[in-house]
């Protein structure tokens, strides 16, 4: 392993992480909810596709999910009022993105969370269940990139 010092951005990474943590804390202390993107999006989608199918979700809970998602979607536009968006470089083509999206969609529903729900919120709560999920998705991420970049 060699460190890529040119790509290393410790300060923006740390500052961004602090903002993400603040957002999760704001949601739990302010509204009593877990800031898990997979759970919020999945819950909204489930209610949309099968309304009333045993989903104990009030209109208020649904509205809270939708405005949270709206906040995420609007964030790049707010950012652009102040500074240009940082460059985003893709690592896969269209087919790769579709396969990746499907895997992520199935995986986060099956495992009940993603980087935010199990990662940020779960680890902060000291949940062993979340730690197990984090270790499995991090491990799979490391192995997948190893195979894609160094084996294939």
């Amino acid at each position: 392993m060699t460190l890529d010092w040119q790509a290393f951005t410790p300060w923006t990474a740390l500052a961004g992480g602090l903002l993400i943590g603040l957002s999760a804390v704001l949601l739990v202390l302010g509204a009593g909810r877990i800031a898990g993107i997979a759970g919020i999006v999945g819950g909204a989608l489930q209610a949309l596709l099968s309304p009333g199918a045993g989903l104990a979700s009030t209109i208020k809970a649904q509205a809270m999910r939708l405005v949270f998602i709206a906040g995420l979607l609007v964030s790049p536009w707010l950012w652009q009022l102040v500074a240009p968006l940082p460059a985003a470089e893709q690592v896969s083509g269209s087919l790769g993105l579709i396969v990746a999206g499907l895997l992520v969609g199935v995986g986060v529903r099956m495992g009940n969370g993603c980087t935010s729900g199990h990662g940020v919120c779960g680890l902060s709560r000291g949940s062993f269940r979340s730690l197990v999920n984090v270790v499995s998705f991090m491990g799979a991420g490391f192995v997948t990139v190893f195979v894609l970049r160094h084996v294939l």
């Binding site: 392993m1 739990v28 993105l97 190893f146």
Partner: protein
């Protein structure tokens, strides 16, 4: 109040994802590439977020209700099963291939990125597929 807090939380979350580099798939890939030239930045993203989270969730556990009056709804499940593990593995594989996890994908889609939109479309299809085929009955 509830809606304002939720919207603000989503907004701050998104800004954090952009600032941290999580919304750049190449940055995520650089972090996951242990065998290549490794970019450790994302470890600091998680470290910073969990650092703040540890304090916040410790406070949340001691409170009975949130500022908006709702009960603080913390997950209660401690089940470690095949679904938790396989779900994590599938998610991690997709994260490695595309460089997107759900939050950054939504932020990218919000900015109008065609890659972000394509990924989010596939992700929603994957979620719906799961609920149709693999949901616990």
């Amino acid at each position: 109040m509830s809606l304002f807090i939720s919207a603000l939380s989503g907004l701050v979350f998104g800004l954090g994802l952009i600032l941290s580099g999580m919304a750049n798939p190449a940055k995520v890939s650089g972090f996951l590439d242990l065998a290549g030239a490794w970019d450790p930045s994302l470890a600091l993203v998680m470290g910073g977020a969990v650092g703040v989270g540890l304090i916040g969730f410790a406070l949340a556990k001691r409170r009975r209700s949130a500022w908006n009056g709702d009960a603080i709804d913390l997950p209660t499940s401690t089940v470690i099963d095949r679904r938790l593990l396989i779900g994590g593995l599938l998610f991690g594989a997709g994260w490695g291939i595309g460089g997107y996890c759900p939050g950054p994908a939504l932020v990218s889609a919000g900015s109008g990125s065609s890659a972000g939109l394509l990924f989010v479309g596939a992700m929603l299809a994957g979620m719906a597929l799961h609920d149709r085929l693999f949901a616990r009955r």
